[in-house]
Every structure is written in structure tokens, then in C-alpha cells.
Amino acid sequence: MNINRKIVHALIVISILFLSLIIYLTYFELFTKDKVIASSYNRRQFETEEKTLRGSIQDRNGTVLASSALEKEQQVRKYPYGPLYSHVIGYNSKIYGKSLLEAKYNDFLLGLNQISMVFGLRDKLSGNMKTGNNLQLTLDHKLQDKASKLLAGRKGAIVAIQPKTGEILAMVSEPDFDPNDQKLVKNWGKMVESKDAPFLSRAAQGLYNPGSTFKILISAAAVEKGMADRLFEDKGITVIDGKKFSNFNGEAHGKINLKTALAFSSNTVFSQVGVELGEGTLRDMAGRVGIGKDIGFDIPVSESIFPYSSMSKTDMASVGIGQGKMMVTPLHMAMIAAGVANEGQMMKPILVSKITTNDGRTIRNQKPSELYNMMSKETAAAVKEMMQEVVEKGTGRNAAIKGVKVAGKTGTAENEFTGREKNREHAWFVAFAPADKPQIAVAVVLEYSGSTGGSIAAPIARDLIAAWVKQ
């Protein structure tokens, strides 16, 4: 029957339409919905947040750094130390959203993970407001406060790490901002437009030329190639492929070994070492410490870069003295110093050590883990010895502490102003102490300070180390 055949066609059409509805719905659920429901016009998002008392964030000793409380039926996020943790914890605002730890650990802070959902039933039973989970950070409030005071509003960053575990003890970036909602609302417009980029977490996201601090790694490579005991001729200046490389203030040190060269940060020697090590070794060393790789961290972190496609001799010389095109973050430099301190093992940096429920059950415990094997134990020991020399006799004398063996390295980094304006270099100092049993590694960078690392960054590192070691 002709009509029946065509009726079947109509049935087929409807079947296809209905099937496409089912497929579309499933597709929407699996692939597109996450993006859609994240829209700020979705009032449901705020619903769950309003129903849950957001978890608190504490330092390693239980000092509360961020917490939520109800005020007139409204939940308010409070940061008792104002700007101090703005570049670690970030902000949590109904208007501007979330950043840093508040963003990364949002699901935990709201208790949205599976495990606590089951236990959250108890809250439902009792009719109480649901409570989120609490974060415990590896930061030490006293040290963080000290670091901030030492930076004293100068643009820059300080990172302090426990070498054995990779725990971040302090992480300060300046300029900062007050993440408390009222202040945030008040200053937002100004801050967004500010040239100083107050929202940039310099410690983890600021990319700087490492300057002479990079000589730590060049020394390690040189030690591996058996150059430790060789004597170098330092005339204060050397020319490689027509490009001049001169020491700070043109000083000549005469016949010196690698140790003395590092102590006085001899550009003449290290530019030659760089060329002698060659492209392969330099690349290898950068790779071994994680430059150009994702180091993975609890807050967004910039990747340190080593952007050479092929290297000329002058490039190798520049890398040898830590100038060149490569860039590192303060966090990464601190990790490198900590790696030397930890017998060549770079640990994975940890910021959040523990997540606990409101009633004290631990739902996540971050164990220390090795990130990169930078160098052998023996090499690390040799480099450590050389870095002690820097503080005892060389450019880092300002970092010396009575009764504590400090190992360090200064750095004065060129930047976009070099050659155009005087006194705009970044000042670096990286260090760890005590040298025989390291407890803390520090990286300090002062942006565009126009001074040397030894003169202004080293004292900051010294005071911070002293505060920690003598505690």
C-alpha cells in the first residue's frame, strides 16, 4: 500500500528527530554544559555558595589567613592580614570571581568533592549550614610577615622554601592589594589600569632574567666537566666573537679558579666557561632544572624559558654569565637554590599541605616528592662550597650571619632598560642556610632597583634566613 509506505517515511523522520534530541541532550551533558553553566548569569552557582560556609585557610601553625563568616545573612570572606597573602590566596568576590588558591581549591573550600558529600549528609540532617573544607598551607605567618616587612613596599618578590620537602615557607610579591571585598570593589578600577600590575603574582608569575644567580648552574656544569681546579686568566674584560664581556666595574682578578670566579661573579671567566661548555651542555643543564618545563604548582605559575633555537658563541657566553634571553621566576630560582641545598634533588613545590573537613578529618595530605634530579650529590656539594665562598669572601658578604654558614649568590639582571637607562637592573640574591644542614632556601628579587644584588637583596635574604634559622 503506497500510503502506508509513505506513512512509514513520516515515522522515520520523527524517529530521526527524536533520536537527534536524545543525542543532542547527551552531548550537551557531556561536553558543552560545563562551559554553559559557568556563566555568571547562572544564579545556581551562587546558590551552592550561599548554602555553604566556605572553608578557612590557615598557615602551617594554624594561624587563620582567610575565613568566612555570616554577617546579616550574607556570607563575607575575611582576610585578616589584608594584602599580605593577596598573591598566594587571591580573592573570592561575588563581583570579580576568584583567583589563585581561592579559585584552584574552590571545590574543596565549598566541600563539593565526593567524600565529604556523603558525610555532608550529617549537616543536612541537623539542618545546619553546610561547611566547606579547610586548607592548611605550608606558609609560616611570621616568616611571611617578616618577608613583607623586609621588602617594604619595593617592587619585587621573595620566596622561601624548605629544601628537603619543597614546602613554601614564605611567598611575597609587591605591589599587592587588599583582597577584602570592600577594598577590592573600591580599588578595582585603579588597579586594573595600573602600570605596576598589582594583580601579578611576581613570585610565581614574574619572569626575570636570572643574572649572575645563573652562574650557580654554570658552575655545576663546569664542575661536572672537571673544570673545578683549573686556573682562569681574568683580565677584567674578554672579547668573544667581537662582543665584549666585562666584570662589574671592569675589575681584574688575575689568575683565579672557578670558586673565586663565582665568589667575585667574574663575567670574564664565566663567559669563557659558557662557550667552552657549549650549546649541548647549557641546554642540558637548563632542562635538568626544569627551565622550559611546567613545574606544576598550586597557583598559576609562569614557565621559565630558554628561548634559543640555535646558539652562537656570544649567546653561549651570555648564558654563561646569566644574561641572554632566558627568563626565570623567583619561585624557580628559589627551587634551584633549594635543589643545590638538598644534594642536587629539586623537590616539588608545595603550598597546600593538608585539606581537612570541618570536623577535623584529613581528606588530602600532600607528601613531599622529588621533581627533578638536578645534579649529583658530589657536584651539589662542590657548588655549595663555592656558594659559601660567595658569602664569606665574595659579592654576597652582606648575607653573612654570625654562627650560621650561609651559601648564596648575587645577581644583577639586565632588562628592557639596559643600555637605554642607567640604574634600572633587577637585583637578585638566592641563598640557603645553614650550609651543612639546610633548613631554608631563599630567592629575593627587587625589580628595576638599579642596585646590585649584593648590596640590597643580600641583606633581605640574610634577615629572613636569620629569622627562620634562629627560631
Binding site: 500510503i3 513520516a10 520523527i14 543532542y24 547527551t26 554544559k33 556563566s39 548569569y41 544564579r43 545556581r44
Partner: protein, 413 residues
């Protein structure tokens, strides 16, 4: 699973769904109202009674009513959850609907004259359309409501049934629409009955467009077009009407603000999400919020969606019963439509066949148009979801259609 489905009678499913639904609803809002229990019992008793009546009296296909009862139950539970008062009203309409279902069954089975009333269908529709135009009031952007004694009444819902009867009558006895030759300016003009038929259909659609019922207009056209295809009216007619639809659509997009807006929103609802795209965005948020199993009844926020109890009820179902719940609803409609097609296929009597076909196509495409609309698969045109959406006119019209389909099924199976 096999043994469960073997011993499991479908009616138990409906009773269980109502039981669970209304027990939950009873605890949902404080103070606990006894009326919730009564409402639940009413639905359960009514459904069982009518189902048993169909079985015992052998009123033809037994699955149609079962499937529809399940859909209506889900609808009632959802509407009651959204708004207790509307839920109670919906149960009253459901009761009225089932009564009308039986009445329309008996009325349609009793007499055999239905295929000869083509002028009555067209005439009644015309009167209803004119009444809407004269007395109609604007509700929700469509001018398609008549307020009688405090009741909002939507004539176009009833016209849906009349329209199917009209089309079915035409394809049974086309010669009824023959009109005498007209002498105009001394020239004799003869119009083929198909021309008259097509003109009448365009009249229906034209009135709907005048009332800004784009969804119904589209629905009427699709049903009409499929009839043209199925009854083999020739390629020329198909092409001509296809071209008309294309032209109408393009003109609508270019010159009718409402249609342009709907299509623009469909293409990108996020461009003006705070205003024009608000509805569809809220609908998508709701569907997304549910996940596969939903938040659970009463635990989502479907109340954020505008018009959630009528056009957007499916989004609420997806939020609280999940995508699986939504797919179950789609499958239920598909089964209903499959049954309808089965009836249309197995009956030999031409009028019954086209009536069954027309009603089934109406159900099928109405469901697809609104489900596609609220999920943003197709542009959104406001139209109700048969048997689930809140609304007396819609429910009554759907149940009358179902009664007729049931009557046809008796002859078919």
C-alpha cells in the same frame, strides 16, 4: 531485570511514580498539607480506574492511555512541586481531561458522520479565530487567549483538533471542497478542490501568525505538508508549498521583529543574555545543573526559569530528574507516537487512517518543536508540551485528541 519486567505491569509503574512523587511532595514544603496526599490519591485512583475501564470494556489500544498517564503524572508532580496551587488546578484539569477523553471516545465511535463535516470544522475554526481576534487578550506576547468567566481559554488548542479533522475529511472526500465555476469579467474560472483546500490551510496558518503563535503556525504547516507528501498530491504541489514556506520564513525573518529575534537568539543566546537570551540561557543552566540523575525533586532551582510550568517544563524535569529523566520523557513520547503510527498503519478505513495519522503527527511535531526549542536544538517557539505542560486548554485538547485516537484504535486492532 528480565523477570522484573515480565511480572511488572505497566500500571504499577504509574502508581509507584505517583506514590514516590507525592510522598516527596508531602515532605517538600512545610507545613505538611494533607491535600498533597489527596491530590496524589486522586491521580492514582483516576488513572487506575480509567485504565481498568479501557481493559474491561475493551476500548481498543491499551497502551495509549498508559503512556499518557505516565507523562501526565510526571507533569502533575513537577507542576505541584513548582507551585502547589497550579498543581491542584492541573489535577482538576487532568480529571476533566480524562472525562473528555472518554466522552470524545464514545462520541467519535458512536456516529459515522465525522468525515462529512468538513465545512463544520472549517467554519467552527473560523469563528473561533475571529472570536480570538475580537475578544482576545495579550498574554505572554501571544494574542491568543479568550477570558470567559474568569477562565483563560486558548481557542487555538481546540482548533488543533478541528484542523486535523478538517485535513482528514479533505483527504477522505476531496470532492466536498469542489466549488462551482466562478464567472469573473465574463471569464469562467474553475478552481480545483485542492486549491480551495490549500487556501483554507493557509487561512488557518495566517490566523495563527496574526495571533503571533509561531510555534502552532509551524506545527500546522508541517502536518499539512506531510499530508501532501503521504497522499501523493504530486511533486508540483510539494514544491509550490515548500517554496511558499521558504518565502514566508524568509519574509518573517526580514520583516517580523519577533521571528528575527528568535532566530538570532537561537544562533547566539549569549550576546544578549541579560535580556533577550535570558529565557533560553536559564533553561540551559537548568538542564546543565541536573547532570544525569538530576538534583532530586525539590532540590534544584527550576523556579529561575521564566514560564517554567508551561513551555519550559522539560527543563525543570531535566534539572530535577536528570538527563535520564528527560530522555525517559522523550522515549515515552516516542512510544506514544509509535502507537499512533501503528494504528494509522493497520487501519483500512480511510477517514480513521488520516485522523490517526494527523493526530499522531500533531503530537509528534508539537513535542519536537518545544523540546528542540528549550534545549536550543532548534529556535524557540512558544508552544506547550502535550500532557505535561500546565494549562487547561492544552490538556483538554490533548485528551480530546487522545480519545479520538483511542476510538480509531478500536477499529484498527
Amino acid at each position: 531485570m528480565r523477570s522484573i519486567s515480565k511480572s511488572f505491569k505497566p500500571i504499577y509503574g504509574i502508581l509507584l511514580v505517583n506514590l514516590i512523587g507525592f510522598v516527596l511532595l508531602y515532605f517538600y514544603k512545610k507545613p505538611f498539607e494533607k491535600i498533597t496526599i489527596y491530590i496524589g490519591l486522586t491521580t492514582m485512583v483516576l488513572t487506575s480506574a480509567i485504565y481498568l475501564f479501557i481493559l474491561i470494556k475493551k476500548l481498543g489500544d491499551e497502551y495509549l492511555f498508559l503512556i499518557v498517564s505516565m507523562l501526565a503524572s510526571i507533569g502533575i508532580i513537577m507542576i505541584y512541586r513548582l507551585d502547589r496551587e497550579l498543581g491542584i488546578k492541573q489535577v482538576i484539569w487532568f480529571t476533566g481531561g480524562t472525562v473528555l477523553f472518554l466522552i470524545s471516545y464514545f462520541v467519535f465511535s458512536r456516529w459515522n458522520l465525522w468525515s462529512r463535516l468538513i465545512y463544520l470544522y472549517a467554519g467552527t475554526s473560523l469563528v473561533l479565530f475571529l472570536l480570538t481576534l475580537i475578544f482576545g487578550s495579550d498574554i505572554k506576547g501571544a494574542n491568543n487567549w479568550i477570558v470567559v468567566a474568569g477562565f483563560n481559554f486558548q481557542p487555538s488548542e481546540i482548533i488543533k483538533v478541528l484542523y486535523v479533522m478538517f485535513i482528514a475529511s479533505y483527504f477522505t472526500t476531496p470532492e466536498k471542497l469542489n466549488i462551482p465555476e466562478i464567472t469573473l469579467l465574463e471569464r469562467k474560472i474553475s478552481v480545483h478542490n485542492r486549491g480551495v483546500f490549500i487556501a483554507c490551510v493557509y487561512m488557518f496558518i495566517g490566523f495563527l501568525i496574526l495571533q503571533r503563535e509561531w510555534g502552532s503556525a509551524l506545527l500546522f504547516f508541517i502536518v499539512f505538508y506531510l499530508f501532501l507528501y503521504i497522499y501523493g498530491t504530486g511533486l508540483k504541489t510539494l514544491l509550490f508549498n515548500g517554496a511558499m514556506a521558504f518565502m514566508g520564513g524568509s519574509l518573517g525573518y526580514l520583516f517580523l521583529y519577533h521571528i528575527k529575534v528568535r532566530i538570532d537568539i537561537w544562533l547566539d543566546p549569549w550576546k544578549d543574555v541579560s535580556n533577550k537570551g535570558y529565557q533560553i540561557a536559564q533553561s540551559l543552566f537548568a538542564i546543565g545543573a541536573g547532570g544525569f540523575f538530576g538534583t532530586g525533586l525539590g532540590l534544584g532551582r527550576p523556579d529561575f526559569i521564566p514560564e517554567v510550568h508551561t513551555d519550559f517544563i522539560f527543563s525543570a524535569i531535566c534539572e530535577e530528574m536528570g538527563i535520564f529523566g528527560g530522555i525517559a520523557v522523550i522515549l515515552l513520547y516516542f512510544l506514544l507516537i509509535y502507537r499512533g503510527f501503528k494504528i494509522a498503519l493497520s487501519i483500512r478505513e480511510p477517514f480513521g487512517k488520516s485522523v490517526a495519522l494527523g493526530l499522531t503527527l500533531m503530537f509528534g511535531f508539537q513535542t519536537f518543536i518545544i523540546l528542540g526549542g528549550v534545549t536550543k536544538l532548534t529556535p524557540l517557539t512558544g508552544i506547550t508540551l502535550p500532557f505535561i505542560s500546565y494549562g487547561g486548554s492544552s490538556l483538554v485538547s490533548s485528551f480530546i485528541s487522545l480519545g479520538i485516537l483511542q476510538a480509531v484504535s478500536k477499529k484498527a486492532l
